[in-house]
Symmetry: C2
Subunit: 376 residues, 2 copies
C-alpha cells in the first residue's frame, strides 16, 4: 500500500470543487458524503451494503467507541477496520463535540474535559493528547483535532474564548499526533457566525499546518441561512489545496449549498436516522412512508432509483413494514437514503467535472419543487 | 410454469425420508426447514438473504396478514409473493393456531372463531371458508386447513371433541378450497398424545384426501419426550407418498429427531427470534453472545460456518453489537441461525440419500456434547 495521503483537485466550477483524496486504504471521491457508523456499525446496514451505495469512507465516533467497546480493546482486536469489517478509509471525530453536548455531566478545563459515561456512569478524561491516542488505537485514517464547540446561544466573547481554547488544543493535537505516514490530521475552524473570529481561527490553523481543514461549529441549530452565511466566506480562509470538511451536515439542500460554497466532505446521521423512522429522500422531496396514502400504492418509492428498496418493493409494502415496525423497514429505507445521498454526490462530482454545476443545481431545486410527492 | 404440485421421495433411511416437492414456483428439497415470515418479512432479513441461506420456501401467517395489511389489499397488490419480494414457494398457516392462543379475546363455535384484533380491537370472524379465501387471496402455494388446537392441559374428552371439530373443519376446508392446479391443501392431524385419537384423525383426513398432511397439536408445551412419543407412531398413520409437516418445530435436536421419525417439513421462529436476542446455534451448541466471555474473543462464532456473520466478524464484535443493541446484531445472528438450520437440513438430506443417517445422527449428538462452547 502506498503510505501517502494526498488530495487532488480535478476540477473547479464556480467555488465548487471535484477531486479525490488518496489514502493507503483507498480513494475517496470528493465531494464526499460519509455515512455515520457511530458504534462500529452504520445502523441497519451491513458494511458491504454501505459500500454498494457508493460510499468510499465512513465516520466513526470516538466518544461512543472509547466507552464501548473501548479503544484499547478495539486495538487488541486489530483496529476498527477489521473489527467492523470495513477495509476502506475511516474518519473519526475527536469526541469533542459529543462530550460538549453532555450538559451537566461534564467539566471543562484548559487541560480537557472530564465527563461521565452515559452507559455506566464511569468518569473519563478526554484531552487533545488522549483523543489523538484513541484515534490512533482505533486506526483511523483521518483523525480530527480535539476541539470545543460552545452551545448556542453564546455571546461573541464566549465564542471567541472557546475558539481560542480550540486553537490551543489544535496545537496540542498536532504535537500529539506526530508523524504517521498514510494517516491525516484535520484541523477544525471555529468562531461561530463571526467573520473576524473565523478568519483568526483559520489563520491559526494554517500556521500550525494540517492535512485538511474542517468547518466546525455549524449545523448546531443556527439554521441554514446563518450556516450558508458563514460558508459564503469561511471556506476561502482555508488553503485551496487541502480538503475542506463540513461536520454534521445535512439535509440534501444543505449539502448542495455547501458544495456550491467550496466544501469537499460532509457527514450526517440524517439519511440513516430518517430511514429508521420511515422517512425517505427522493429526487422529488421527502416521503413519509407512515402516511396512510401509501397503503395501496403499487409504485416504487422512486421509479428512477436502483436501490434494493426501489427495485423490489412497492410503497404499499414499505408503508406496511414501517407501520408493523419490522426491521426490514429500517434496513430498506436506510439503504435507499444512503443510496440517494451517494447518487447526489456522484451527480455533483460529474456536473462540476463537466462545468455545468450551476445548471445541475437549478434543476435539483426545481425538480424537488415540482414533484408528485409533496414534501412532509 | 408447470401447473402441478408433486412430492417425490428419492430415498428412505430407516423412517427418515429425503425427496422434493415440486411446485410451479420452484422445488422444495425435503426434509425442509421453512423460515417464518409472519408479517410478510422474515424478521431482520432481506428475502435474497433468506434465499442465500438455502431456504426453498418460507411460511406466512394468515392471522397477522389478515389484520395488517389485509388479505384483500395484498391481493390487489399482486399477491404475497410480489408484495414481499419472494418468488419461491410460500406456505401459509390457517390462522387457527394463532386465534386459539388469544385466550379471553375469542369465541369458538361450530361455525368458526370470532376474535378481536390485537392491533386495533376490530372484530373478525375466521371460518374454514374464510381461511381458504384469505390464503387464496394471499396466493399461498401450500394452504393449511383451518383447525382448532386445544390449550394444554386438556382432558382426553376435550382433546377428542376438539379433534373431531377440526376434522369437520378439514372437510369444510377441502370443499372451500376447490380445485386449484399448482396449489396444495394440507390436512392437519390432531388428537394430542392419544394414539387412538391420532389414528382416528388420520383416518378421517385420508378419507377426505389432501396433498400433504401436517402433524398438529405438538410443540405446544408438552415437552420433547411426549412429542417424540407421538412421532414414534403418528407419521405412519399418514400416506407415505405425501409430505408430512410438523408444525412449529423446533430446536435443532427436535428437528433431527422429527426427521428420524419420518417428518419432511418443519417451521419455527426459533432461529430468527434467537438471533434477535443474541443467541446463536452452532455445531457445538448454543452460544449466548451477550456473555462477557466473548468480549475480547477474536475468533469467529463458528470457524466452519460460511455465513456472513462468521466470515466477517469476531465473537468480540458480535458481543459488542448485541450489547449496544445495534440492528446489525439481529441481522447477522438471524442470518447465521437460518444458515445453520439450512446446513442441518442439507446434511440430513445428504445422509439419508447416502444411507448413513444413523451415523450422521450419532455424530450430530456427540459433536454437540463435546464442543468447546458450553451450551447455555
Amino acid at each position: 500500500m502506498p503510505q501517502k495521503f494526498e488530495f487532488r483537485r480535478h476540477a473547479t466550477d464556480g467555488r465548487a470543487r471535484a477531486g479525490e483524496i488518496e489514502t493507503p486504504r483507498g480513494t475517496v471521491r470528493t465531494p464526499a458524503f460519509m455515512p455515520v457508523g457511530t458504534a462500529a456499525t452504520v445502523k441497519a446496514m451491513l458494511p458491504e451494503s454501505v459500500r454498494a451505495t457508493g460510499a468510499d469512507i465512513v465516520l466513526g465516533n470516538t466518544y461512543h467507541l472509547m466507552l464501548r467497546p473501548g479503544a484499547e480493546r478495539v486495538a487488541r482486536l486489530g483496529g476498527l477496520h477489521r473489527f467492523m469489517n470495513w477495509d476502506r478509509p475511516i474518519l473519526t471525530d475527536s469526541g469533542g463535540f459529543q462530550v460538549m453536548s453532555l450538559a451537566g455531566l461534564r467539566k471543562l478545563t484548559e487541560e480537557g474535559v472530564t465527563f461521565k459515561s452515559h452507559i455506566d456512569g464511569a468518569r473519563h478524561l478526554l484531552t487533545p493528547e488522549r483523543s489523538m491516542e484513541i484515534q490512533a488505537l482505533l486506526g483511523s485514517d483521518i483523525v480530527m483535532c480535539f476541539d470545543e464547540c460552545p452551545a448556542l446561544p453564546a455571546t461573541e466573547a464566549e465564542v471567541a474564548a472557546s475558539m481560542r481554547l480550540s486553537m490551543r488544543w489544535a496545537e496540542r493535537s498536532r504535537t500529539a499526533f506526530g508523524d504517521r505516514p498514510g494517516h491525516a490530521l484535520f484541523g477544525i475552524m471555529q468562531g461561530g457566525v463571526s467573520r473576524e473570529l473565523r478568519a483568526e481561527s483559520a489563520e491559526k490553523l494554517r500556521e500550525i499546518g494540517f492535512d485538511g481543514y474542517a468547518v466546525g461549529g455549524l449545523a448546531v441549530g443556527e439554521g441554514q441561512e446563518a450556516m450558508f452565511g458563514v460558508l459564503d466566506y469561511a471556506p476561502e480562509f482555508l488553503p485551496a489545496d487541502r480538503p475542506r470538511y463540513l461536520m454534521g451536515v445535512g439535509k440534501p439542500d444543505d449539502i448542495v449549498g455547501a458544495v456550491a460554497r467550496g466544501i469537499d466532505m460532509m457527514d450526517c446521521v440524517l439519511p440513516s436516522r430518517s430511514g429508521r423512522t420511515g422517512q425517505a429522500f427522493t429526487t422529488r422531496g421527502v416521503v413519509n412512508l407512515r402516511n396512510a396514502r401509501h397503503a395501496e400504492d403499487p409504485r416504487p418509492l422512486d421509479a428512477d432509483c436502483t436501490c434494493p428498496a426501489c427495485r423490489g418493493y412497492s410503497r404499499a409494502y414499505l408503508h406496511h413494514v414501517v407501520r408493523a415496525k419490522e426491521m426490514i423497514a429500517g434496513m430498506l429505507l436506510t439503504w435507499h437514503n444512503l443510496h440517494y445521498y451517494q447518487c447526489l454526490m456522484a451527480e455533483m462530482r460529474d456536473a462540476i467535472g463537466e462545468g455545468r454545476f450551476a445548471a445541475w443545481r437549478a434543476a435539483f431545486h426545481s425538480g424537488r419543487a415540482e414533484g408528485d410527492i409533496a414534501p412532509v
